[in-house]
């Protein structure tokens, strides 16, 4: 597949040069999540309030008395990024309505890791999405509870070795498939849901810009590579994100008003082994395990293509 097709060579020149997420943060070398935050902030602009769940990003960016954030930012606890965000959104809305703050659109953006979104934060995000708050939730998914030391989460992929579901003589790592969070959120009638990856920066930034414009809830599930937790080389962070997409392990798509749309449709998916063999967390997998993963990846990908082909947008269904 020709990567250059999805990549405007000189587009970096057009990106907002402002660093809303400054250097000096304590993320690991090659941290995909820090990169994703940096790109997301460029797409959001300065009229944004960030609500951050406990996790890597919160810890590495705000070591008192310094902060890496050039945007208003609040962190309260682990499971409540979405509910704090709901409060921020409501507060800003009421204050603007009462004329106590400037009459200007300020978007509330909640960020959380896979831990704070898939697992402990699922209730809060479900409530916030159902209530229809005007907020964007970005889940930065590095597929385990990385900040506390690489423990298994609902987002950990099948076969990955984590510290609480490790590979050993009697186990091959996680024995359950990754939770499909985009589908769960879409089931809340959220008008815009998308998956993204930092390795496709412009796709990600465009999706953030699109989500920001939605008047109501929106959700982006961004895969972020973690060299520390995945046991990969720090320089391969971008490459791994690309491989995840090219092998169909993490397809990029949007669900807009119920209509599924692939952002990237490779002519032929690469074999998952290309992706798995670069990662220490999959080191223990046997060819039989890889075959199971390959089959399931193809199945999930086909399910997705099926939805993209057959499901209609809400407006189309209304007219019927």
């Amino acid at each position: 597949m020709n990567i250059v097709e999805n990549f405007d060579l000189y587009a970096p020149r057009l990106v907002d040069k402002e660093e809303h997420f400054s250097a000096g943060h304590r993320a690991c070398q090659g941290c995909g999540e820090a990169l994703a935050i940096r790109l997301m902030c460029k797409a959001l602009g300065k009229d944004t309030v960030i609500v951050n769940a406990t996790g890597c990003m919160e810890v590495i960016s705000t070591m008192y008395p310094t902060t890496a954030w050039n945007l208003p930012w609040i962190h309260v606890a682990f499971p409540n990024s979405a509910s704090v965000g709901a409060g921020v959104e409501a507060g800003l809305k009421v204050l603007r309505r009462k004329g106590k703050i400037a009459d200007r659109d300020v978007k509330t953006v909640c960020i959380g890791g896979d831990g704070g979104t898939f697992d402990i934060g699922l209730q809060a995000i479900s409530g916030a999405m159902e209530r229809g708050h005007d907020l964007l939730y970005v889940c930065l998914d590095n597929e385990a509870y990385m900040n506390t030391g690489i423990q298994r989460s609902g987002a950990t992929p099948f076969g990955a070795s984590t510290t609480t579901a490790p590979a050993g003589a009697a186990s091959s790592g996680k024995s359950e498939w990754k939770k499909n969070l985009a589908a769960i959120i879409a089931a809340h009638n959220v008008p815009y849901v998308a998956t993204a990856c930092h390795s496709y920066p412009f796709d990600f930034m465009n999706k953030v810009k699109k989500a920001r414009k939605v008047k109501g809830p929106s959700f982006i599930h961004c895969m972020t590579v973690c060299p520390t937790g995945w046991r990969t080389a720090s320089e391969e962070t971008i490459k791994l994100g690309r491989l995840a997409v090219e092998t169909g392990v993490f397809p990029l798509y949007e669900i807009e008003n119920g209509k599924y749309k692939m952002s990237l449709k490779p002519d032929k998916l690469r074999s998952v082994e290309d992706y798995l063999k670069l990662q220490g967390r999959f080191r223990h997998l046997t060819p039989a395990d890889i075959e199971i993963i390959q089959k399931r990846v193809i199945l999930e990908y086909n399910k997705l293509l099926d939805k993209a082909e057959n499901l209609h947008s809400w407006s189309e269904l209304e007219e019927k």
């Binding site: 008192y64 050039n70 309260v76 509910s83 704090v84 709901a86 409501a90 209730q123 809060a124």
Partner: protein, 392 residues
């Protein structure tokens, strides 16, 4: 002008909160405080209050949403009881650490297990150390008055701390009493618009809720302690202003017929009103007995307690919560600790009463007074007693 209205106290609390013009109310129903968020949502739905009522999906989200709203610079309110308070307990110390002036009304209810929806103080007592200002109301009028006071105290620039106002579940929340209500002009005059110290807005960028390393943590905790202790000054000022404007006086510890008292009750919450009746009865019989009503729980009113018990021989502290396997009920252990270093101090005994909504009639207070009189001469009989238990 204020008008005298007869109303269920929970509804009166909601009406008063509405007069305080909160911007965001985020609350989850739990018996017995449910009438408060329900009535507030009625008021919003009727267009009488311009606020956002967020029907959050849990108490944890309720307090979290209040954090977010308060962080954005809005006046935020929530209400809960018992299990709800424990569910939001993760956020409770964070609100005070972040200096967000959220006001919370708690309809005190027993903590599970076993499940029990009726009144006792085990819920709020589990949050003693969280750094909130904590006050107790003993009747409907106090609920109305202290609701308005809570917002003013919380938002004062020298305080900036969350406040919880406690009223006994069912004993107060579901009881109809006559109360002097304030009108909107009076409340607006007393409680100005909320001007936050800092707010989440791109025009003035802040990061709230940062990470504090061990190298700084002792200092941060010291600062938190000092600001809570220092808030007493503002609380007294607000109470003085209230008395000047509305003629009703509030003190951290109220004394009733204590002038020459040898025996004292020390009560917290609505049980104090029943104790008052017992005091009158016993005085008629010639006992030199008085009552202390503890209104301010945090910051703990050390000075006022020490002064109030001077001259008494025995103080019977009435608790409505147990510290299992511990040194007695929470109020008792704190009062006794407060008096430990005093040269002349009364004997302090502990009677734990009314757990899980158990009725405590005047006769029980009389029995306690008689016991107190006896042990004042013969010495304490036990560490503490859970009063009125059937069986030996």
């Amino acid at each position: 002008m204020s008008e005298r209205v007869g109303m269920e106290i929970a509804l009166a609390a909601a009406e008063t909160v509405a007069l305080c013009r909160p911007d965001v109310v985020a609350a989850y129903p739990i018996t017995p405080n449910t009438h408060i968020p329900e009535h507030l949502s009625d008021i919003v739905a009727d267009g009488r209050l311009d606020a956002d009522f967020i029907c959050v999906e849990s108490e944890h989200s309720a307090l979290s949403a209040c954090c977010g709203a308060s962080g954005a610079g809005a006046r935020a309110f929530t209400a809960t009881s018992s299990q709800g308070l424990l569910y939001m307990a993760e956020v409770v110390p964070i609100v005070s650490a972040m200096r967000l002036p959220v006001v919370m009304i708690i309809g005190n209810r027993a903590l599970s297990g076993p499940i029990n929806i009726w009144n006792d103080h085990s819920d709020i007592m589990s949050q003693r150390d969280a750094g909130w200002i904590s006050m107790f109301a003993a009747n409907g009028q106090e609920v109305v008055d202290m609701t308005v006071q809570s917002f003013k105290i919380a938002e004062h620039r020298d305080v900036m701390l969350p406040v919880n106002l406690n009223l006994d579940g069912f004993q107060l929340t579901h009881v109809v009493e006559p109360m002097m209500f304030l009108n909107q002009e009076e409340v607006d005059a007393f409680l100005p618009e909320y001007k936050p110290y800092a707010a989440l807005h791109p025009d003035n960028i802040v990061s709230m809720g940062t990470l504090a390393l061990p190298e700084i943590f002792n200092e941060v905790m010291k600062a938190k302690d000092e600001v809570l202790k220092g808030s007493k000054k503002v609380i007294l000022e607000v109470w003085k202003e209230w008395e000047e404007k509305f003629g009703r006086s509030y003190k951290p510890v109220e004394s009733y017929r204590t002038e020459d008292a040898e025996v004292l009750f020390l009560a917290i919450g609505s049980m104090a009103e029943t104790a008052e009746v017992a005091v009158d009865e016993l005085r008629d019989k010639g006992m030199r007995i008085g009552l202390l009503k503890l209104r301010l729980w945090r910051p703990f009113p050390f000075e006022e307690i020490r002064n109030a018990v001077k001259g008494a021989k025995v103080v019977a502290v009435l608790d409505r919560a147990v510290s299992f396997g511990g040194p007695g009920g929470p109020v008792f252990s704190e009062v006794r600790s407060a008096l430990y270093d005093e040269k002349d101090r009364p004997m302090v005994i502990n009677e734990i009463i009314g757990l899980g909504g158990r009725d405590v009639p005047v006769g029980d207070f009389v029995k306690i007074a008689e016991k107190a009189t006896r042990v004042a001469k013969t010495g304490p009989e036990e560490e503490y007693e859970i009063f009125g238990v059937r069986g030996s």
